[in-house]
């Protein structure tokens, strides 16, 4: 079972990154819940979504402790890192986030998502760079197969873009396991 928090500024695509993860997980036959941040915190602050991915029925969509935090901005890391379990994973957008002084006992994967997306001429794909690093870091799904799921997701929305796959795979490459 994996509990994931995906967080950043509104506009960084954190809800979409979570949606892509949810949809690909579903197509792998997993049970999944996707809960958006909701209420006043959406207005001007951090946006986030929280997912559970599991092989069997998901009882409670809410959780207090996460196995994986995808932090796209500093505020997300600072406010949510305390919810990550011991030996959990934090994927940090090193273009914008400073992880010095972070608590011990978590595995930190740094990926310069905003810079990589700009370099690949797909600036809105920073969320997918982060997702690539996260998927590779937790090893839940093979990266190439997941990239196919990304292509299918955006094609299904009528926004097919090969640069999305490129962003995801670059992110995955920055976070090889071990």
């Amino acid at each position: 079972m994996v509990r994931v928090i995906c967080a950043g500024f509104g506009g960084q695509g954190v809800l979409t990154a979570g949606l892509v993860l949810a949809e690909v997980a579903m197509n792998y036959g997993k049970k999944v819940t996707w809960v958006p941040s909701y209420g006043s915190e959406m207005r001007g602050g951090t946006a986030s979504c929280r997912l559970r991915i599991r092989d069997t029925e998901i009882l409670n969509p809410f959780f207090e402790e996460a196995d994986l935090l995808i932090a796209m901005n500093q505020n997300s890391l600072d406010t949510l890192q305390g919810q990550v379990v011991q030996d959990g994973v934090i994927v940090s957008n090193s273009t914008m986030v400073n992880v010095s002084g972070l608590r011990s006992g978590v595995r930190v994967v740094e990926t310069p998502a905003t810079a990589v997306a700009a370099e690949l001429k797909n600036p809105r794909g920073a969320n997918l760079v982060m997702l690539g690093a996260a998927v590779a870091a937790i090893g839940l799904f093979p990266a190439e197969a997941f990239a196919d799921g990304i292509d299918a997701y955006f094609a299904g929305k009528g926004h097919g873009n090969p640069l999305n796959r490129a962003c995801f795979l670059r992110g995955a490459a920055t976070a090889g396991r071990g």
Binding site: A22, M26, Y38, L59
Partner: protein, 346 residues
């Protein structure tokens, strides 16, 4: 059939279309506005009529009109908008017409706020409007149940010619889960009670039936007694040997299911009785509970306990009934286990 990842509101709206929805009349309010948004886009293409009414009052009365003509009709609202629907729901019940009303509960009285809550319980289960009527109230606990309850609600509304309520909340409405959608069905509005034009048609009653029925008191009592006898639905989770039984519906029941698993892993015999219909309240479900159960704990996302009253009535107050309230905050399953364990130690 492939699963589709859908938001609760969208799934519920799509299920309504597939259940033969012919008219939606309603007014937007968070957290149910995606129902209107979705239906405004998809219902006309499916051959139905979508009207964004000038108010909730207009919306529910459009539903009354469409129902009188035999069509499957629905409205949805939340918070103060749900209050405004009550007069119309009473009229539809009085006219003995079928309709489906969705209340996506939000927190607080007055304007309140937009996050999840379960504070409309009394309003939903006690009638809400004036006079002697009840609505059958379905309480989905997942996006899939938001789908599955829609055709059921229309079927039961027509079977008993009575409005049915689907009592969702902001969290189920806004979250996404994989769902299987039903096939679209075609509905024939030519019911023998429906007003289908003057020519060759017998007289039809589409206003208060009390004006036309001899011994109306006994008639209407029998109707609601029949529903109460036949339409109780519930899910029981490990209640047979439970020392404490949680009672919770909707999103709270999801937290409680996890609480049962947590407690059982520690050797604490916790159970859950989840009402699926809130009216009729599933009194029959309590028959399976361990006769030596120590206590019931009603878990509700309210500032004031409400469901707990029905637990007391259903159990004859033979066992202590306590409540654990979420208020504006969603409790953790761990906190629910602690509250239940505290009852055992009393």
């Amino acid at each position: 059939m492939p699963y589709k990842l859908m938001k609760g509101n969208h799934a519920l709206a799509e299920a309504a279309i597939r259940s033969g929805l012919a008219l939606f009349g309603g007014y937007p309010i968070t957290p149910q506005s995606e129902i209107l948004e979705y239906l405004s886009d998809h219902l006309p293409a499916a051959g139905g009529v979508f009207v964004q009414a000038e108010s909730e009052l207009a919306g529910i009365n459009m539903v009354y009109g469409a129902a009188a003509a035999g069509f499957r009709a629905m409205t949805s609202s939340s918070g103060p908008g749900f209050s405004l629907l009550q007069e119309g729901i009473s009229y539809i019940a009085s006219a003995e017409l079928p309709a489906v009303i969705v209340d996506v509960q939000r927190y607080g009285s007055g304007l309140g706020d937009i996050f999840q809550a379960q504070g409309d319980y009394w309003m939903a289960t006690r009638g809400g409007g004036h006079g002697d009527y009840r609505t059958i109230v379905f309480a989905p606990a997942s996006v899939q149940e938001s789908v599955d309850m829609m055709p059921l609600a229309f079927d039961k509304a027509e079977q008993y010619r009575n409005p049915c309520l689907i009592l969702s909340d902001a969290s189920i409405a806004q979250m996404m889960e994989p769902v299987l959608l039903p096939e679209k069905i075609a509905c024939n509005p030519d019911h023998d009670w429906a007003v289908r034009g003057k020519r060759g048609q017998a007289f039809k009653r589409v206003t208060s039936t009390m004006y036309y029925i001899a011994d109306f008191d006994a008639y209407i009592k029998k109707k609601y007694d029949t529903i109460q006898e036949n339409e109780q639905r519930w899910e029981a989770v490990q209640v047979e040997d439970a020392d404490v039984v949680l009672v919770a519906y909707g999103i709270s029941s999801r937290i409680c299911k996890e609480a049962v698993a947590l407690a059982r892993a520690k050797g604490f015999r916790l159970g859950l009785l989840r009402p699926i219909t809130l009216w009729p309240f599933p009194e029959k479900g309590f028959a399976a509970v361990n006769p030596d159960v120590s206590a019931y704990l009603s878990v509700e996302l309210c500032a004031l306990p409400k469901l707990a009253d029905d637990v007391r009535l259903a159990t004859g107050m033979n066992v202590p009934v306590s409540h654990f309230l979420g208020g504006a905050h969603t409790p953790s399953s761990r906190a629910v286990v602690e509250a239940a364990a505290a009852l055992l130690n009393q």
